[in-house]
Amino acid sequence: MPQRDGTPRAGYQSTTVAQARVRESDVTLPQESWIARYLTPRRSIPSSVYTILSVLGFVGVLAIWSALSYTRLVKPLFLPTPTEALAALWELLVRYGFLKDIWASTYRILAGFAIAAVVGVPLGVLMGSFKLFEALFERLIGVIRYLPASAFIPLFILWIGIGDAQKIAVIVFGSFFPLVLLVMDVAANVPRDYLDIAYTLGASRWQVFWKVLVPASLPGIVDSLRTILGWAWTYLIVAELVAANAGIGYMIIESQRYIETPRIIAGIVTIGILGLVSDTIFKQLYKWLFPYAERVNP
């Protein structure tokens, strides 16, 4: 009986000693160094620090630009000041109907992108799903992808003239082939087990294609479209190189003729902003369409 009395007490005492030790070591735990906290590979950093740093990136570029231009270290002919560029943009918008140019370019981009998507997505899915289509097109498209779109401008002019169709054709040419290859990869990477399970649940080939391959590919397809739309904007200058009478690219080429450097920069910044806007729209679309998906690739 006395033993029964003693045992819990001994246990209780040892617990308090252990707790006391833990508390002591809490106090003496050394601070991690600055390097350990911020320069360990893959280690996450506080989101506030992340936001500050990403803003700092833009501020840095702006600061270097300002330092070089306001001090006249670089001649204004080569690099105007940020205020001059902004003033040029304002002037373009208010006096020279720049909105019409923006619309003309956006229309061309969207039309070219839509054509590339309507043909490219189904073709890519077919190529990723059926070896027959892959064998038929993969090498061919792989070769064409490396042909420069600008080199085809003379041919496009010969075939379809110098109107809007020719500009859209350049966009289509630049975005269609990489899009097909991206979508093909997406469809080809649908896990084989997804298909096998469907077969063992009684699916026909047709059902496996429409009820498994296509829905499994959709998030990847939307992500590919986002990437390609970004690339399409980079083809704008090439598209509006010849016989354009409106457009951001056209304005830039015209400004080059008159050495209107502020306007060139205003045009470039406009393209950047439009690209960013279309990217953000696609990211939101992805979140809205695929609530089950892990996350958008950056």
Binding site: P191, A198, T200, L201, G202, V212
Partner: protein, 268 residues
């Protein structure tokens, strides 16, 4: 009747880059009775998964034939449900939609589908998760949905390819108990592939031991442990005897596989 008859099945894969062809399965013959729970154990790479896929009709044997319920297997079908080791739930469908996938393919009426999925959700302890997406579930829960999806079709045969292989030890035990309970209710013919000997002895009426490459059946061990089997079964003397017997065979096979020169493997 839904017995499985595997009749002199051989599976050969073409060698890659000038290597000789690989014999994955050699002269496999076994008969699984209607309603029997059969397990196949063997060292990794012995071709046990390939054999299961052949029964499912997902791959065709190089020679030999497989009959399920007396019908020759020519391709996959809804009469043979399958559960894989990897979580193969469709991420774009909710738990309920995943379970009803096979029923939807057969264009079953909505209320009929609902009745079946409701029953399975209860059976698997998944009430309250019907509208969740798979990625919100733990590994154990995902596999319960995968089993429910296979059962929803009411297949004659259930083919399971290491379904609990990716789960942690505690969850695995719970899942094994759940599976025996379900099987004792439904008495479907089950062909269960695993490399876990305890699992095979605990679940199976009969355990087939396979050899390493080329995969052959080395032994057929009838497990005469009483049912219903529970957690207590695993600590019984008889259980341990069966386990040690199979463990010794597998160990011998694994040693043989290691000692075998690589270029001789294909010739067997």
């Amino acid at each position: 009747m839904s017995d499985i008859l595997i009749d002199h099945v051989e599976m050969m894969f073409a060698g890659q880059r000038g290597m000789p062809p690989v014999i994955a399965l050699q002269d496999i013959s076994l008969a699984i009775a209607d309603g029997e729970f059969a397990c196949i154990v063997g060292p990794s790479g012995c071709g046990k998964s390939t054999l299961l896929k052949a029964v499912a009709g997902l791959v065709r044997p190089t020679s030999g034939r497989i009959l399920v319920g007396g019908r020759l297997v020519l391709g996959p079908g809804a009469d043979r449900g399958m559960v894989f080791q990897s979580y193969t739930l469709y991420p774009w469908l909710t738990v309920r939609q995943n379970i009803e996938f096979g029923l939807q393919l057969r264009r079953l009426r909505r209320d009929e589908r609902r009745r079946i999925s409701d029953h399975l959700l209860t059976l698997m302890g998944l009430e309250g998760f019907a509208n969740a997406y798979p990625r919100a579930l733990s590994g154990g829960m995902q596999q319960r949905v995968a089993i429910a999806r296979a059962l929803a079709n009411d297949p004659e045969v259930l083919l399971m390819d290491e379904p609990f292989g990716a789960l942690d030890a505690q969850t695995r035990t719970v899942m094994q108990e759940l599976l025996t309970t379900i099987w004792e209710q439904y008495h479907k013919t089950v062909l269960f592939v695993t490399h876990d000997i305890d699992e095979a002895v605990f679940l199976g009426d009969v355990v087939y031991v396979m050899t390493a490459r080329p995969g052959r059946i080395r032994a057929r061990v009838v497990i005469e442990l009483p049912r219903p089997r529970t957690f207590a079964t695993m600590t019984s003397e008889a259980f341990i005897k069966y386990r040690n017997q199979i463990l010794a065979m597998i160990h011998e096979e694994s040693l043989r596989a290691i000692q075998q020169p690589v270029n001789k493997q294909a010739q067997g």
